[in-house]
């Protein structure tokens, strides 16, 4: 079935020779070290190494059959040697294939430059944040959960949402509405359709208003979602957010965002010793981000960001989550993962991020970054070097964690990761 889906995708590409095509192949080798129990649960932890190899292919194309009409799409495939990315749980079938149509839509400029109607699969990303994105109210994360060299919130490859969008631009103000239907199907159907598109659990409607006022960009975003009849969560939920970004002088861009959700659920610890958890609804979740990018020179830039997430743990709940995760690791990792339920290094409420990048030459870039959990404090940092030429790029990075056993870094099995990536562009 996989072969049929891939063949159909390739045939579609070949059938439209007028398509302007571009693509990218990424081959990634990621040796990493994690802590695992030496023997049965409760035994001491030892370092274990594993290497994940991923090969990704993405092909994008667009065609304009008429002046006001554009069709575009991006197909993506992944060959993965270690899909779970966890040496504790190496799957039997170590070579896994996954694929998605990340984006595919038709755009009609009803009034050119003023009123646009897009229908199809679209990526919806209103946030301007680098490592925290409070205004990305709907997000699916990285396709294939492929490791990234820096902890940017927006992954390199992400699957969009099937829906329809209207965009109306009046002067320096724009109004946008995106609606996505609920799309669910049986697991049998999903075994084939899952190679093309993911299911959508809720009806979504997101409104976005943007304005450019006196050099300042302002935006407001509102989202209503509901699972509707037959859904495990049929209730209507709302989220709203505000964002601003602007320049100060010729070297500084600053940005800030805040969002509010009426209710979000999380897995919380009930007993850190017995390793029991429960699902908890958190009312009125606030998320916020403030950051800046400073162009120190034409070759060097510094990003600083602070992120707050009200869905993260604080106080005794945070201490319980850390103790639970430490006990879970020593027990062999069979209990639910509370620490990593939102992603890597996101279990607390307060984080800071810094990234310094320098273009050593026109082709060679070096960067270093650090992400700090302000509640511990523990940290995750990395350094990297990348060479990008016309048709290829080669980059390497090392990521490390810092913190005692009572910190988020210390309670995570992750120790370090090397990442060597070759990119080919065509």
């Amino acid at each position: 079935m996989k072969a049929v889906v891939i063949s159909l995708a390739l045939a579609a590409v070949i059938a439209f020779p007028a398509l302007a095509l571009e693509g990218e192949i990424d081959v990634d080798a990621t040796p990493s070290a994690t802590l695992v129990p030496m023997g049965p649960p409760g035994s001491s932890l030892v370092q274990a190494e594993a290497t994940r190899m991923t090969s990704q292919l993405a092909v994008s194309g667009h065609v304009s059959p008429a002046d006001s009409l554009t069709a575009s799409g991006t197909a993506w495939g992944l060959l993965d040697t270690l899909p779970d990315y966890n040496p504790l749980d190496v799957p039997g079938n170590r070579l896994a294939l996954s694929s998605r149509l990340l984006q595919a839509d038709v755009s009609w400029q009803i009034i050119p430059g003023e009123l646009i109607w897009d229908t199809g699969k679209q990526i919806i990303h209103p946030s301007s944040g680098f490592f925290r994105t409070p205004l990305n109210l709907i997000s699916r994360g990285a396709a294939g959960n492929v490791p990234q060299q820096i902890p940017a919130a927006a992954p390199q490859w992400e699957e969009g949402w099937i829906g329809t969008r209207f965009l109306w631009i009046v002067g320096d103000v724009s109004f946008e509405d995106f609606f996505a239907p609920r799309l669910v199907w049986s697991s049998d159907v999903d075994s084939a359709l899952g190679y093309v598109t993911s299911q959508q659990d809720d009806f979504l409607d997101q409104v976005r208003i943007q304005a450019h006022v006196g050099g300042v960009d302002l935006q407001a975003v509102g989202l209503l979602s509901t699972g509707g009849p037959g859904s495990p969560d049929p209730a209507i939920h709302g989220q709203a957010g505000l964002g601003v970004d602007t320049n100060i002088g010729d070297r500084l861009t600053v940005r800030g965002e805040a969002s509010l959700a009426d209710s979000l659920s999380r897995l919380t610890v009930t007993d850190p010793v017995l390793l029991t958890t429960t699902s908890q609804d958190v009312p009125w979740v606030v998320r916020a981000m403030a950051g800046l990018t400073w162009s120190i020179s034409t070759k060097t830039s510094l990003i600083l960001e602070y992120g707050y997430d009200g869905l993260g743990f604080a106080g005794s709940a945070y201490a319980d989550a850390i103790q639970y995760s430490r006990n879970r690791m020593e027990a062999g990792g069979s209990a639910p993962d509370v620490l990593g339920q939102f992603g890597s290094f996101q279990a607390g409420q307060h984080y800071a991020f810094a990234r310094l990048a320098r273009n050593i030459t026109d082709l060679l870039t070096a960067q270093g970054w650090v992400e700090v959990n302000l509640q511990d404090p523990s940290a995750m940092d990395g350094v990297g070097l990348s060479v990008t030429n016309d048709g290829w790029g080669l980059s390497g990075s090392i990521t490390n964690t810092w913190g005692g056993s009572g910190t988020e870094a210390g309670a995570s099995p992750f120790l370090w990761q090397l990442d060597i990536e070759l990119k080919l562009f065509f």
């Binding site: 571009e22 990340l102 755009s107 010729d250 162009s295």
Partner: protein, 252 residues
């Protein structure tokens, strides 16, 4: 296909002579106007050199919209393949970059560079609206009689990439010949030579701009327009919210 409309050069020369008796501000405005095409569409190549070695090349398609308060430029990265599909909007002092397969353009500082020594604003730059004239004197450039302008960025203008500019404008044609760009500290950031003037869309356009690093004469970026035409796009297309919907086309 390059579409260039040739206008008789004597008309340009005649108008320049009339201007010679006018105020410095009018001369500078006329110089801007003579070489700037509203609704210009273009294809430009940017090649960066370190000594004689080419270190980077970029090919862009672009469109220019002259506004009452500031210019707006849309640019699309055609080459290299590693950058293909990126879109850039320069909206006065605001610069937005949209990466491939993303939908929200990120805001950059005006100091961000396109490649080598050339910044986004260098591709199409005018001076009269954004700078106050501190002085105008007689000078020469490449042996040609020239007006030498000393400019300072207007307080009211946000684009402060270069706080001070020295310009040399050829007296007989009002062609911009040479410019030096300085930071607020007085440090020379870059020098630019404007060459290969050709008639396009009724304007006298420098088809080659050679930009040198202020602190290293061996580092330079050559911007060469190889297609210049006119395509009128709605003003609303020069907006951040439109960038992901913009469907770039090669210049006419």
């Amino acid at each position: 296909m390059k579409r260039i409309i040739v206008i008789a050069l004597p008309l340009v020369l005649l108008s320049a002579r009339v201007l010679s008796a006018q105020a410095p501000a009018e001369i500078l405005a006329q110089s801007d106007q003579l070489r700037t095409i509203d609704n210009m569409s273009f294809q430009v190549n940017l090649s960066s050199y370190d000594g004689s070695q080419v270190t980077d090349t970029v090919k862009l398609w672009g469109s220019l919209k002259i506004g009452q308060d500031h210019n707006r430029v849309l640019m699309y990265f055609v080459e290299p393949a590693s950058d293909r599909g990126r879109k850039l909007l320069v909206d006065g002092d605001a610069v937005y970059l949209l990466f491939v397969r993303t939908t929200n353009p990120i805001r950059l500082s005006p100091l961000e560079v396109l490649t080598g020594q050339a910044s986004d604003g260098d591709v199409v730059r005018t001076f009269a609206r954004d700078y106050d004239i501190e002085s105008m004197s007689d000078g020469t450039q490449d042996g040609k009689p020239a007006y030498h302008f000393s400019l300072a960025a207007k307080e009211s203008v946000g684009d402060t990439s270069y706080k001070r500019v020295q310009l040399w404008v050829e007296k007989s044609t009002l062609r911009l010949l040479y410019a030096e760009f300085y930071a607020a500290s007085g440090v020379l950031l870059k020098k630019a030579y404007y060459r290969d003037y050709r008639q396009a869309m009724g304007k006298d356009v420098p088809f080659t701009v050679e930009v040198f690093a202020g602190d290293d004469a061996g580092k330079r970026t050559v911007m060469s327009f190889d297609k210049v035409g006119r395509r009128t796009l709605p003003a609303t297309e020069f907006a951040r919210s439109y960038l992901s919907s913009w469907n770039p086309e090669p210049p006419q």
